[in-house]
Amino acid sequence: MFENFDATLLARFQFAFTVSFHIIFPAFSIGLASYLAVLEALWLRTKQDVYLELFDFWKTIFAVTFGMGVVSGIVMSYQFGTNWSVFSDKAGPVIGPLMGYEVLSAFFLEAGFLGVMLFGRNRVGPSLHFFATLMVAFGTLMSATWILAVNSWMQTPTGFAINEVGQFVPADWWAVIFNPSFPYRLVHMVLAAYLTTALVVGAVGALHLLRRTSPLRAGTMFSMAMWMLTLVAPIQIVAGDMHGLNTLEHQPVKVMAMEGHYESHSDGAPLILFGLPNPEEKRIDYAIEIPKLSSLILKHDRNAPLAGLDTVPEELHPPVPIVFWSFRVMILIGFSMLGLGVWSLYCRWRGTLYRNEWLHRVAIVMGPAGFVAVLAGWITTEVGRQPFTIYGHLLTADSVSPISAPAVGASLVAFIIVYFLIFGAGTFYLLRLMSRLPRDPMGDLDEGPIRTAGITPAPQATKHEGARHGT
């Protein structure tokens, strides 16, 4: 099996598969950790039970997500060595210490305080518990910072030299970490994680608003999530635009592929909305385009000339159709988020935020959209970096381990089977946890329809977990 496959392609597919699965969990847990910190802070401040109940509800979901993120992350820390050993040897002196800092300053912090956050409230008291939650949230952000510094350096490498055995060695750590694309990528990704979480929280809130069993809890989380969406979606669009302009400056070929510009345009390039990339003929078939808009967006001048892929040797082209489509998926979802945010703001103003069932239905449909957008964005930037691992300096084909196709192929099959099994089960449990929001206690219902029959008293409702696990 696999003797006739290209080992490099299999290794690429394995990395793409394992890292795509992995990024889903941090994208959610970065946002959720911050959300938990906010909920606990609100509870400590206001002493309103609803915040503590929401904290406990999302804490369990966080624990499952975080567990999946940890185990899929351990795989990542060894992927570099098993399949990309030449890259590891060459780039290790530069990216290795950054990852070392990620482990030392982020992973240990998260892991050390996660146990206290999950199991320790009765043992350490509210203030220390809140401190543990803050450390977990801070750890997730630190982790994002370091790993994005690594990724950004691979996209826009600066501050290095090459030694006599061909290794990339650090010349200026400041320039390595604060490489040109890092600040943009960091902001774009952290906002993406917050938006992804807001969409999930919003969808769960909307689901339970439609069910009408716990309007206070569901309404509280729905409102918080919609505020997040309303405020952050526009910021994200601006941040994304700035990130795009930064890419145009440092990785113009990637932007050509995103835009589908096979040809150069001497006076104003059109913005191709949709079309079918045709890599053989080097054109976009059936293109629907707006004249001069691409130059206006990218150069802020409608008549500015814009170079196309015809100025770049063909062996240095990234796979255009993938980048072209993934970019459009991301943009489409980004603007849908903005739309949902604006709509929710309108409903809030009209006082129908908790009653507009169509808003709730759309919010449910949009629940998983953040994950799709995150994946599409990463596909755009990673596939757009091809054919390089370290942009402009190290080809992907020269980065791979001296591995044989059967070894990579067999491990790839094993990863695919195990991941679908394990993370499929995990997703099922997550969805089930999300659909089981305890009912609101009686007396706290200050809005929504009151259903007196069958309401569970508060203490039992909030202790549901203990009851299930205990005796």
């Binding site: 290795g96 030392l104 240990f108 050390g112």
Partner: protein
């Protein structure tokens, strides 16, 4: 004076790997012993005894891997391809047992599945780690900065023996951990298993120790040449001392002494291996100085390590302290 950064880093990485082995050793050991306890109540307590700390324990493995990439990239780039299959098996095992911590509480119908995932994953991970250790000790050929051996080189009688040795050794750590952290019938059962595991560990250490010097002339020279032969005499004496303390602790119903003595056994075994192949990091092809990244990389991360590792030890210690004492069987999951 010029600091030997490669040496300092070798010591730090060695410490990280040792920390991993003894910390994840006991929580993998609890997984290995899982099938030997049939009652759900007992399984719940066993899992709860390690649930708050397992994640931190496994982070030392990430530090070992990530640290190796940072400071000894050539070692990372040659050891991992050489140990491809056992590493992948270990990762998959860790996935199964890692998610079981949460999944097990999320279902009643499928609980038995995650019991098996926890036990099976722990066993596979422990055995694969032992095989990887054996394959490393028996030597990895390197040419032109790349692994130069075959895909099945790791599979030898010696590596299978070290695989079993680690499996039994982790079971010992797990059993003595349970003696320390639990009460009643569960603790008594764990105490009985600890006797067998202790004996198994001692035999395994003996077999591996007698086998190792004959794998490589370098090892033979180390073990029987002066002055390192001093260790060859001292280490077995200390091992015997730990073993006696262990058995004595079990017999006299001492709760924490057996666990500490088992840790002692692991530290001694680890030191023995380290003494054998220092200064090689990839025996017997690459020394720590060959593999080391440039000083700028070593120094940059060292600053962080000197500040952060003590902090990590402090808050990890705090986390253990928060969950000190016997596990309360009445306390549910989070």
């Amino acid at each position: 004076m010029e600091l030997d950064l490669a040496f300092i880093w070798a010591a730090i990485i060695a410490f990280a790997v040792l920390a991993y082995v003894i910390l994840d050793g006991f929580d993998l050991g609890v997984g290995i012993l899982f099938p030997f306890f049939s009652e759900k109540r007992e399984k719940d307590v066993m899992m709860n005894s390690v649930a708050p700390v397992w994640d931190g324990n496994e982070t030392w493995l990430v530090l070992g891997g990530g640290g190796l990439l940072a400071v000894f990239p050539l070692a990372y780039a040659t050891i991992l391809p050489a140990l491809y299959a056992p590493i992948i098996a270990m990762l998959l095992g860790l996935i199964f047992r890692g998610v079981a911590f949460e999944y097990r509480w999320r279902t009643t119908r499928g609980e038995y599945l995650w019991n098996w995932a926890f036990a099976g994953g722990s066993m596979v991970a422990a055995f694969a780690q032992g095989v990887a250790l054996g394959a490393l000790v028996q030597g990895i050929p390197v040419e032109n900065r790349a692994y130069a051996g075959g895909w099945w080189d790791w599979l030898t009688p010696f590596s299978l023996a070290t695989g079993l040795a680690i499996l039994v050794g982790y079971a010992l750590l797990g059993a003595t951990w349970l003696v320390m952290k639990t009460t009643g019938e569960l603790a008594e059962r764990a105490r009985r298993y600890a006797y067998s595991a202790a004996l198994g560990t001692l035999v395994a250490m003996g077999v591996v120790s007698l086998w190792t010097p004959f794998l490589e002339p370098t090892y033979l020279q180390r073990w029987f040449g002066w002055p390192t032969a001093a260790f060859s005499i001292i280490v077995p004496v200390l091992v015997a001392g730990c073993f006696l303390a262990l058995v004595n602790g079990l017999r006299t119903q001492h709760d924490s002494r057996p666990f500490l003595a088992s840790l002692g056994l692991f530290v001694l075994g680890y030191a023995g291996i380290g003494i054998s192949f220092y200064p090689y990091i990839v025996p017997t092809s690459v020394t720590i100085w060959d593999a080391a990244a440039p000083d700028e990389s070593l120094a940059f991360l060292l600053v962080g390590a000197l500040i952060l590792v003590p902090l990590i030890l402090a808050y990890t210690g705090y986390a253990y302290w928060v969950f000190r004492g016997k596990v309360d069987p009445e306390e549910g999951y989070h």
